[in-house]
């Protein structure tokens, strides 16, 4: 019998950086569940709650031991209305719920604060003149590196497209949030669909946008899950949030830009008659792309599309990671989903 656990520990009792990280991770997950349960209990009890749902941001590992809690919403939150009901079409709900469950079985390697989220897509962009006809250019490769800096920063990453590098520069500096989502920020989002939609709404300026709030939210979620890296739990929560937005339906045209099979989740904007489609691979629950269309008398016209082909974590901006998660095998065939 050799129970290694019972060997006397070395005298130094401080946790290693990896141990600290695991402790914070476990605590964060448990706290989230705890607060959700508390919040449900409060709402059930008296329908008026001022409990704020804390998000947890993992501070820069190895330098700061403090677990930083970020409160979603203001301390004096207004009373919570009844929870948003599920209003998406039944087929859309089925697809999104199934994708969420499938995602629970996947694993994503989290970047550290000094790394970059890397996403490579094949893209079709409207290169026609503004207010003129849509002129879809050729398919081209688009790569993006996203800074994971947790503080406010103007140096936010890089886009490599059309044969050029375009630094993403945020002027006076942008804090982490919906407009500059880092992996850690996405991990901190509440998993309760209501709280999640409240958080997104609070960060998106809908007052100067002719689109309805619902479309703004839908499009924001499409952006977050298509060109970014998030913990599977967060992507699942975002899918579930979509089921609470009215007008969300399944799109019949079930192939992405590269012809890979998927399921489309879509919403049509009433004012501009534009339609965004989120394309999900049902075997993994992952988002594999998006399509943007306009309604015209002649039918729907595509004015943009992306197909995600790789996601990963890069150590250096502008350098492709050694082993990104490739979603397309050589020759364009879809990689088989893990068993």
């Amino acid at each position: 019998m050799n129970d290694v656990d019972l060997l006397p520990p070395p005298p130094a009792g401080a946790p290693t950086a990896a141990e600290r990280a695991r402790i914070e991770q476990a605590l964060r997950e448990n706290l989230r569940a705890e607060v959700r349960a508390e919040r449900r209990a409060v709402v059930r009890r008296d329908r008026v709650a001022t409990v704020a749902v804390p998000g947890l941001v993992l501070a820069c590992l190895g330098t700061v031991a403090a677990l930083v809690l970020v409160v979603a919403g203001t301390p004096s939150s207004p009373p919570v209305e009844a929870a948003r009901p599920i209003v998406a079409s039944a087929p859309a709900v089925d697809v999104l719920e199934a994708a969420s469950r499938r995602l629970a079985q996947t694993d994503v390697l989290a970047p550290s604060a000094d790394q970059f989220v890397y996403v490579r897509s094949i893209a079709l962009t409207n290169e026609g003149a503004y207010d003129g006809e849509v002129d879809l250019g050729d398919r081209h490769t688009r790569e993006i590196w996203l800074s994971q800096e947790p503080g406010s920063t103007s140096d936010q990453g890089l886009i490599r497209e059309f044969g050029q590098d375009w630094p993403i520069w945020g002027g006076t500096g942008s804090p982490v949030g919906i407009r500059r989502p880092t992996y850690a920020y996405l991990a901190s989002l509440p998993s309760d669909p209501d709280a999640l939609l409240d958080e997104l709404t609070s960060q998106l300026p809908t007052w100067d946008d002719a689109r309805s709030t619902d479309q703004v939210l839908f499009d924001a979620i499409v952006d977050l899950v298509s060109e970014g890296l998030a913990p599977p739990d967060t992507t699942a929560a975002l899918y579930r949030a979509l089921t609470r937005i009215p007008g969300v339906e399944v799109d019949d045209d079930a192939r992405d830009l590269l012809g890979r099979p998927g399921i489309g989740i879509t919403r049509t904007e009433d004012v501009f008659l534009t339609r965004t489609v989120l394309i999900i691979d049902p075997s993994t629950g992952e988002t594999i792309g998006a399509r943007y269309l306009m309604s015209t008398p002649a039918g729907d016209e595509v004015f943009g599309a992306t197909a995600v082909v790789a996601r990963g974590v890069a150590d250096v901006v502008g350098r492709v990671p050694d082993d990104p998660d490739e979603m397309v095998e050589a020759g364009g065939r879809r990689r088989a989903a893990p068993a």
């Binding site: 656990d5 019972l6 520990p9």
Partner: protein
């Protein structure tokens, strides 16, 4: 934030203030880990106990009373409780398998600095063996007062018992170990029967 008085910290924590909670974590998670490690002898268990301790602290924030006693003791008491739960299960299993850890050998009083002169592994092994001889209540005060260096008052506040009880438990712990030092052949019982000191809750003494 660091300028908050203990009284203010307690009030804020009780009210569910997230900043104060995260400050507490930042200030004390390392020593909670160390305390759990000493009690469980396992780094993996110490990790579990540490995150569990702060989760429990959040859940029980409403129990925090107004006072000037630092919250550190409260956290360490929660940690000790959970760490001893971990080892209790393990000890029972070990005893059942007929572990030969009964003999303490020559054990110096852990409060005696002479203990530090033995090489680390042997010292800890012997300390752990000696600890097997203590009751759960005695081990609790040893962990808080001797290892984590809480004052009697802080430990009493954290455990919700009178200061006098803390003293008497600590004295009893020391006496038990002196007995072991005097007669190295005295082996602490390790049977899984109810007479096992760790499975018996004899109540406050």
């Amino acid at each position: 934030m660091a300028d908050l008085s203990v009284r203010q910290q307690r009030a804020l924590l009780r009210a569910g203030d997230h900043d104060v909670f995260s400050q507490l974590f930042g200030a004390h998670s390392d020593e909670v880990f160390a305390a759990a490690l000493r009690l469980t002898g396992s780094r993996a268990s110490a990790e579990d106990v540490t995150s569990e301790t702060f989760l429990v602290a959040w859940r029980r924030r409403g129990d925090v009373e107004p006072s000037d006693v630092p919250l550190r003791g409260w956290l360490l008491a929660i940690a000790a409780h959970h760490a001893m739960n971990v080892t209790r299960g393990r000890r029972r299993r070990l005893a059942f398998l007929g572990s030969d850890r009964a003999r303490p050998g020559v054990v110096a009083d852990f409060a005696d600095e002479a203990v530090g002169r033995l090489d680390d592994a042997r010292r800890l092994e012997r300390t752990r063996t000696a600890l097997d001889a203590l009751t759960r209540r005695e081990l609790e005060v040893v962990s808080l007062c001797v290892w984590s260096e809480l004052s009697y008052q802080e430990a009493a506040d954290a455990l919700g018992i009178p200061v006098g009880t803390v003293r008497s438990r600590l004295n009893r712990a020391r006496e038990r170990l002196r007995v072991l030092v005097a007669d190295p052949d005295v082996a602490p019982p390790l049977s899984p029967a109810p007479a096992h000191p760790h499975s018996t809750n004899r109540g406050p003494r």
